[in-house]
Symmetry: C2
């Protein structure tokens, strides 16, 4: 063996292939786009070495108002254009990186790129969740690929493991903390005993929550991401509108107090399970045993637990957002596309298969935590137990705290596993019971 | 979009390519080999669909004594051969899967396969750690690839993330629990307060430790694995003999008691760091802060924390051994090879680069936990502090427990960061101090 040699991959392509440079066009120069531009230019040598051919950033599509941003001004002016046609007609663009975000015009841009025979790399969870199947089909028709590792979990490898490393497994389930904003808020509420509004404004001050945080708080962002992962894991399209989602704004400090008392943590979990020929996909707050792996993932960290029938439980954690981690995933996808281009491989397409049924939320079975205000009088618990029992729901445990001054007591019930529709029917029955003043909250329990 | 279609990858190759089947030859039908054979046959359809071409197990090389094992008898007799030449001369073998384990004859078999222009998939950490560079070079010369995802961390994706997903990062460090046997023993000692020998025999009874567990206990197994990961992460060859390794057998229940008292857990950690142009690679027991991620990884689970400059800390956990997880990684590599073969791509090779220097262990800087027996008399601590100070080692904290009946006291010292050679010099100085009866143990501290 020769000494003083290290191991760098390159493709043993013909010399002419080796010298062909791969051109990248970048769409968007926001916080993410600026960082992607930095990585593509400052690490060009390293990326080229790994791609087995020179990788060159050739053009950046920006909007007028971005031209004055520092990250745009840091780029040579000749690279920037506000004109869509000029961008797409730039000679030698092989790969289009879309990091504009949002559904439109990102979706149209991606389609235009694919139709023009260009590979697409995107960090856009919304476009991939909503239009991934169409884009993959379009890519196949045009002999190119579309890669979206950055669309879920920032720099954590998640898309590629499902496409390759876990391919021999039947995936039983995915259990994921994949929204940093909500995990930060829930961690703050748990640690500091604050109410939701306080924790939210703290997250906003620290830049972990947007001014309009609805997509994060309501579980919409997480529903895009779990739709993408479930589609990969179960090899059956899961549309984001098929994902049941419920947000975290209903949670109060009292729920966290009871959770701790009962040995649980509260997390916003994205769950995708395969049972028989049915798929279950949902995003909502859950009670998780305090000593479980996911219960201990705090702050803006993301964690994805994958249960494969061969691997058993495999987990992936890391920062799920931010410019640096996202640029890592985007650059890896660019290198993968470039390797592909340099090697002259034929292109991957997606073929038709069977679509699995999504189980309606009404049929989902979990245990429940229920916190309610009741009249402080004898026989109340019997009435509640009767209403639950009439709906086939068993009580696992009860906590009743001392009476408040207004003659209303608070009661917390942990149920045995129950079907969602039965639980909802019980809530409807509670409304007819004068002794039940209010169902303050309920949270599903995952064990 | 057509409905009732799901997303299955296939390569848009020419029809003739699509129909070409890929033949697999399996070497070894032990516990791992039997499971690999099961996956390759029972999941042939699923794997073929993902490989974009039929993947067929064509021959299995066994040794005489394996012919009677249930996993061998479960295979059609026509697939089995004890003859090496017959095996390699089987028509239509494109991929050789080596799961024999051990250095010889596995290394020779892999070389023979590569020279014959066959792709190699292996789970063999020892061969890859010791001879990976040579094998990669040989693969390149023959236009084929060698894949070894299963050599580290069982079913946890670890090799592929370094080869692809984290490629744009400068890897600052890897911190890994990558030996299930030792982690099980340490977890047992921590949880049950047992001594090493008791925990070991418990592990042996449960099948988590081999009858001759030396490779695991002495950190040799972990040193192979971290050599493989460090080579990938730093793109510079790290030979297993360059990895400092120290085992766990010196640890006693008293060390665990002090660790808990001081807020630490004890783990056998494999560490690879890049500082400047130097690489630091070592395997030894460490004190880890009890609330750190790796401190909470218990039992036979493996966990690898990768610190990338873009991603930040990304962690991967799962079962690091066992037939099922290993078969998952092997099958994924087989599919990757088959995709490659089906697409008619050019093959990846490894090109020369710069070899980085491995920092000698004597120059490594850590904090230290030291437990020693001392004479129970005035002025002892001053003498010890003087000996440490003379070697430029500062004391961060001291615990001195009550005197034992033999007039010997036990003292525990936590130092500030010190160079290994200074610490070893201090230990030599202690030997000259009559008041130091014995240095019972020392453990490096990672924070």
């Amino acid at each position: 063996m020769p000494r003083k040699r290290s191991l760098q991959p390159r493709l043993a392509a013909k010399p002419s292939m080796e010298n062909k440079s791969i051109g990248v066009g970048l769409m968007g120069i926001g916080v993410i786009g600026g960082q992607v531009a930095t990585v593509l230019t400052e690490r060009a040598n390293m990326l080229s070495e790994n791609a087995c051919c020179p990788v060159v950033l050739r053009k950046i599509k920006v909007i007028e108002s971005d031209l004055d941003r520092p990250q745009a001004r840091a780029m040579p002016a000749s690279l920037l254009t506000t004109d869509e046609d000029e961008f797409f007609n730039t000679p030698g663009l092989d790969i289009i990186v879309e990091v504009i975000g949002g559904e439109h015009p990102a979706f149209e841009y991606q389609k235009r790129a694919l139709k023009a025979g260009k590979h697409v790399v995107t960090a856009n969870k919304e476009v991939i969740a909503k239009h991934g199947a169409e884009l993959l089909e379009l890519a196949a028709q045009n002999g190119v690929s579309i890669r979206y590792e950055a669309s879920v979990g920032g720099g954590i490898p998640l898309v590629a493991p499902f496409q390759r490393d876990l391919i021999a497994n039947k995936i039983n389930g995915i259990y994921a903390i994949i929204n940093g904003t909500t995990n930060f808020i829930l961690s703050t509420m748990a640690r500091e005993g604050t109410e939701f509004a306080t924790a939210l404004s703290q997250a906003q001050k620290l830049g972990y929550a947007e001014a309009n945080p609805r997509n994060d708080l309501e579980g919409i962002d997480a529903s895009y991401k779990i739709a993408i992962l479930a589609t990969l894991a179960f090899r059956s399209r899961v549309r984001p509108e098929q994902v049941f989602h419920e947000g975290i704004s209903r949670l109060s400090r009292r729920d966290f107090q009871y959770a701790r008392e009962l040995g649980f943590a509260i997390k916003l979990l994205a769950i995708a399970k395969q049972t028989g020929s049915e798929i279950e996909v949902r995003v909502h707050p859950v009670f998780l045993p305090a000593d479980s792996f996911l219960a201990k993932v705090d702050g803006v960290y993301n964690a994805v637990l994958v249960d494969g029938d061969l691997t058993g439980q495999v987990t992936f954690t890391g920062k799920g957002a931010g410019a640096l981690p996202t640029s890592s995933a985007v650059a890896a996808d660019v290198v993968e596309c470039a390797r592909f281009l340099a090697s002259g491989r034929t292109s991957p397409v997606w073929q038709a298969g069977e679509i699995k049924t999504i189980k309606p939320m009404s049929q989902v079975v979990t245990r429940y935590y229920i916190r309610m205000g009741i009249a402080d009088q004898p026989g109340v618990l019997a009435q509640i137990a009767y209403a639950l029992g009439a709906n086939n729901i068993g009580i696992a445990s009860v906590i009743q705290k001392e009476t408040a001054s207004d003659q209303t007591a608070e009661i917390v019930i942990m149920t045995y596993p129950a079907r969602e529709e039965a639980m909802q029917a019980a809530f409807a029955d509670f409304k007819k019971l004068p002794v039940v003043k209010e169902v303050h909250n309920f949270v599903r329990v995952e064990v």
